[in-house]
């Protein structure tokens, strides 16, 4: 397309797909993959071992038109392919508050992807499923938090794929050899030095999404490296860093020194070169990030809801939630939702936690997420969350006022029926 750019070298089977040997859908998918390869300046296409599709979330008829065009053209996925959250909770359809027409279209979209051979996983956290890609494995994952997790925590390699290209990659089994698939593009470029943060803060889960927010906002299109955290940061904390960084910035990979596989040391993360930039993260930056996420006024107002599980809650996070509830019930005037996948739901059911959560009045949402679809019935009061990603998007998507807080603050507030701050954690307001 661009003058002076070398053409992409295509294999015989790539050429065959382009020529329509496998039907019109595979041809359209390959055309799009090749266009994107040209755009990225890729020399060739490479094989992938799995795909994760974000296009199954209904954003409007364009997505449905595309999926049905592929399906009519005989599209079938060539690699194991998982599906991201959709617009409907198929296990609790009564929780959906949108119009019936949107629900029908959303359902048609989900059906189209299943008909193309995708697994009905309906989760934004495919890394919580049993089979996940390993170090150096090339995959085509969409959904920004899943991309960061695959690249950073698993050491798998995926570019920042989105709707449309995700299913094209799954149908062709090929992606451009570009971006984060290439070793040199994975070099850490901007170092976030956390050594100045107090131990007390490092021990708190709530720090991690806030670090992610700072990283996302400050990285631009550079690959960030987080340095100064104790080694072996838990996966759920890394998940929170990545999800927040991907929501507030263009981050597709974040190295965490001592915790992620390509960053045993800072020098490894930097591929033994000098960083382009150094950002010293101060406690004040963390507090500013927290305040940025809270859109409710200083008097907070009436608490209408509490939302956790964005990205989808893991088994370990449910364990924390059950422990923090400690047998208490959610206040009757507060809607408390936890979003997760049906896979994790089955596991917490086996552990007996599901019954405990339901008895406590926590409503489980599966297959979807409370910020992409209409679940909340009361959007007039403030809503609390421990998810930076939920706090980032919900005011725009749902028109609600948000208070960002720790999981403990969320639980105490849900039980008491009003916004409760933890002064020991933040210092008095």
């Amino acid at each position: 397309m661009g003058p002076g750019r070398p053409a992409v070298r295509l294999s015989d089977s790539d050429q065959a797909l382009l020529a329509g040997a496998e039907g019109p859908a595979a041809r359209l998918a390959m055309r799009i993959v090749v266009e994107m390869a040209r755009l990225a300046g890729a020399a060739e296409l490479i094989d992938i071992t799995s795909a994760h599709i974000d296009g199954c979330l209904f954003h409007g008829d364009a997505g449905l038109d595309f999926a049905e065009r592929l399906l009519e053209g005989g599209a079938v996925v060539r690699v194991p392919t998982t599906l991201n959250v959709a617009s409907l909770d198929l296990l609790h359809p009564d929780r959906y508050r949108g119009g019936p027409e949107t629900a029908r279209a959303a359902r048609r979209l989900m059906d189209a992807y299943v008909a193309m051979g995708c697994a009905e996983t309906w989760t934004c956290a495919p890394y919580q499923l049993p089979r996940r890609p390993g170090l150096g494995e090339h995959v085509a994952w969409a959904e920004s938090n899943a991309i960061v997790f695959a690249n950073s925590v698993l050491g798998a390699r995926t570019a920042r794929y989105g709707d449309f290209i995700d299913i094209c990659a799954a149908v062709t089994g090929r992606v451009p050899d570009a971006g984060l698939h290439r070793t040199e593009r994975r070099r850490g470029q901007v170092v976030f030095d956390l050594n100045g943060l107090p131990e007390r803060l490092l021990a708190e889960d709530v720090l991690y999404p806030l670090v992610g927010l700072v990283v996302g906002a400050e990285s631009g299109n550079l690959v960030p490296v987080v340095d100064g955290l104790p080694p072996g940061v838990a996966e759920d904390r890394l998940k929170a860093v990545g999800a927040a960084a991907a929501a507030s910035g263009e981050v597709g990979l974040v190295h965490v020194v001592g915790s992620t596989p390509e960053a045993p040391t800072l020098a490894d993360a930097l591929q033994h070169r000098q960083p382009d930039r150094l950002v010293t993260v101060t406690p004040a930056m963390v507090l500013a990030a927290r305040d940025r996420l809270t859109t409710a006024g200083p008097d907070r107002g009436r608490l209408a809801g509490v939302n956790v599980g964005t990205p989808h809650f893991s088994v370990a996070e449910f364990g924390q939630l059950v422990a923090l509830l400690g047998g208490r019930r959610v206040h009757p005037e507060v809607e408390c939702y936890a979003s997760t996948s049906r896979h994790v739901l089955a596991r917490i059911e086996a552990l007996g936690w599901l019954a405990a959560l339901e008895a406590a009045g926590v409503r489980l949402v599966v297959d979807t997420c409370t910020y992409v679809t209409s679940i909340l019935t009361d959007t007039a009061g403030v809503v609390m969350t421990n998810s930076a990603k939920w706090a980032w998007y919900a005011p725009g998507n749902l028109g609600v006022q948000v208070v960002f807080a720790s999981l403990r603050e969320c639980v105490e507030s849900a039980v008491e029926g009003r916004v409760v701050g933890d002064d020991a954690l933040w210092g008095p307001r």
């Binding site: 799009i32 994107m36 974000d54 954003h59 409007g60 989105g162 008097d299």
Partner: protein, 408 residues
């Protein structure tokens, strides 16, 4: 980059080829279309974006880059399908997510939204309002004349009140002023005291003016947060009940009704009408007020000027410091072709106005009507730390500042 007269020709890298011609809309910060642009209205709906409420439809969208979710492809394709997409998109750096959305839309619907990389986007060469033509790898700009005139060497006006604080603010950069009404244009403290004094006298409530105003401020903000959709007279009636409880007194139904109906009697500050008449010649004027429509009509009569839009608590379904008023005002201004960065919010209350307006990325001017008071914040609660972009003691001083800048 080549210049000839007021035309500038820029070389571009074509990401998705096509032709387009239209008016530039420059976004100061990257925008994720998903969660950031509503494909049904074509408006920016990202609450963290400084240009919340501006419409991209039919404009040549110029922004440094896209950001955030990979679902932005879908939103762009949907916007193309619905006819709300920009005419073309100019970026400082390549963005595969946007190109993909436009490419798929082209395959599905045969409609093209060209996307090009223009390095000058990062340098601020293109301004909102410029006429942009996209053809092949050429992007041509035609400057609007007044922009050329102010491009270089214009003086930076300084506030008469506090030169350091307002050094960076140029009133000429704005095309609309949004106003708080009560406390800023209407001397509500005088009005509140005049309405409450008969009650304190009748019930022998002994409290000085500052204390009474502070108690009013506490009760009012509490009620407004708890009953965001209650009409303002109802809030006032409830506030009188709260004041009575606080001071161990009572308030009859008639006294509550009289206080509830007193807003129309609250006087305007002496400088408001004249300053507004002056500012009306240079700006669109919008009211964003914690009041009901009926009460505001009485106040408006005292202010004289016709406002271009009036956003009340009736319209917003909430009371400031909730962001609803500002979002509505920005949406209405966007329909008049005014973007968020062209809006200056003018207000006395840090709590009700400056905190939420700054949170939405608006520039703000503090009419510090209480600058001569030793302490306290009068009838408004104390606010979280916030730094307005400028400060003047009166509205007349703001008009004077504009006059000086205009002359300079």
């Amino acid at each position: 980059m080549t210049r000839s007269g007021d035309r500038v020709e820029l070389e571009a890298r074509v990401l998705l080829a096509g032709t387009a011609a239209g008016t530039a809309l420059v976004l100061d910060e990257p925008l994720s279309l998903w969660g950031g642009m509503d494909p049904h209205s074509g408006r920016v709906c990202d609450h963290h974006h400084p240009q919340l409420g501006v419409t991209v439809t039919g404009r040549v969208l110029v922004m440094p880059s896209s950001r955030g979710s990979s679902s932005s492809s879908s939103v762009l394709a949907e916007a193309v399908r619905l006819g709300t997409a920009p005419l073309a998109i100019l970026l400082a750096e390549p963005d595969e997510i946007l190109v993909l959305g436009a490419l798929v839309a082209e395959y599905l619907y045969g409609r093209v939204c060209p996307i090009l990389v223009v390095p000058e986007v990062a340098g601020g060469t293109i301004a909102t309002g410029d006429q942009v033509t996209v053809s092949g790898d050429r992007v041509t700009l035609a400057r609007s004349r007044n922009l050329d005139g102010t491009e270089e060497g214009s003086m930076t006006a300084r506030s008469t009140a506090d030169t350091d604080d307002t050094a960076a603010l140029r009133l000429g950069d704005f095309s609309a002023l949004t106003f708080d009404c009560y406390g800023t244009l209407i001397d509500w403290e005088a009005g509140i005291l005049a309405a409450l004094r008969p009650w304190t006298a009748a019930h022998r409530v002994e409290v000085d003016d500052e204390e009474l105003l502070a108690a009013f401020g506490r009760a009012e903000s509490r009620r407004q947060a708890a009953q965001p959709t209650a009409p303002y007279p109802e809030i006032l009636a409830g506030v009188l009940g709260d004041l009575a409880t606080e001071h161990g007194a009572t308030a009859s139904r008639e006294e509550a009704a009289a206080f509830a109906g007193s807003v129309g009697d609250w006087p305007a500050f002496p400088d408001s009408a004249e300053a507004l008449a002056y500012l009306k010649r240079h700006y669109r004027l919008v009211i964003v007020s914690n009041v009901d429509r009926a009460s505001f009509r009485h106040s408006n009569a005292k202010l004289g000027v016709t406002f271009d839009a009036v956003v009340t608590a009736d319209d917003a379904g909430a009371y400031k410091p909730a962001p609803n008023h500002f979002q509505l005002a920005l949406a209405q201004l966007a329909d008049m072709g005014v973007a968020g960065h062209q809006v200056l919010h003018v207000a006395q209350s840090l709590y009700h106005d400056h905190v939420p307006a700054k949170r939405l990325g608006l520039k703000t001017m503090w009419i510090n009507r209480r600058a001569d008071r030793a302490k306290g914040s009068g009838a408004t609660p104390a606010a979280a730390p916030v730094t307005p972009d400028g400060e003047v003691p009166t509205l007349a001083a703001l008009a004077e500042l504009h006059r000086q800048e205009h002359a300079g």
